[in-house]
Amino acid sequence: EDQVTQSPEALRLQEGESSSLNCSYTVSGLRGLFWYRQDPGKGPEFLFTLYSAGEEKEKERLKATLTKKESFLHITAPKPEDSATYLCAVQVSSGGSYIPTFGRGTSLIVHP
């Protein structure tokens, strides 16, 4: 059973058309929710960490928010350079460690 579910799988936007990506999780005792951006042929790059419900983080056109069951990545007035796959991850307890577990990602394409 997936512990991290991202939706939609793919999203196409026109430049300037704001939207939101969703990440829902089922782990108990959340120790952190992470958003990453991945460009084709590259490794994921860290964007945000959120720790508690109600927390928000912003970076340029991106804003991440967190509730007790899900996180949203809001993209305001996107540009073509925002096209990428956006990954969400949560820490899952495994023995004495907390292991980052990823969703399958949302592929975003922004058309000029």
């Binding site: 952190g32 490794g43 860290f46 990954l87 820490q91 292991i99």
Partner: protein
């Protein structure tokens, strides 16, 4: 950028042969991870390490082994490669405080094809 180097970047091999992928870091981070990324599955954890000679299995560890003899190096070995192990492999590191793993820094990936 975090100092993580994966080698090789690309490899083609035949079914049944052993393959070793290397991850080298210059950040002195405690935690190191190997993930594989496949269409429809996203990133899945193979093995991870929380210190020299301290490793543990991830979600998809069957057919893989790892070793960490130095802080900076984490090796992933496919004992006898199969076509199902064709994938993109990513190494990641984090500086983890105690049992808490913080954000990950990823390498550029290794594209492995098993024919």
């Amino acid at each position: 950028d975090a100092g993580i180097t994966q080698s090789p970047r690309h490899k083609v091999t035949e079914t049944g042969t052993p393959v070793t992928l290397r991850c080298h870091q210059t950040e002195n981070h405690r935690y190191m991870y190997w993930y594989r990324q496949d269409p429809g599955h996203g990133l899945r954890l193979i093995h991870y390490s929380y210190g020299v000679k301290d490793t543990d299995k991830g979600e998809v560890s069957d057919g893989y082994s790892v070793s960490r003899s130095k802080t900076e190096d984490f090796l992933l070995t496919l004992e006898s490669a199969t076509s199902s192990q064709t994938s993109v492999y990513f190494c990641a590191i984090s500086d983890g405080q105690g049992a808490l793993s913080e954000k990950l820094f990823f390498g550029s990936g290794t594209q492995l094809s098993v024919l």
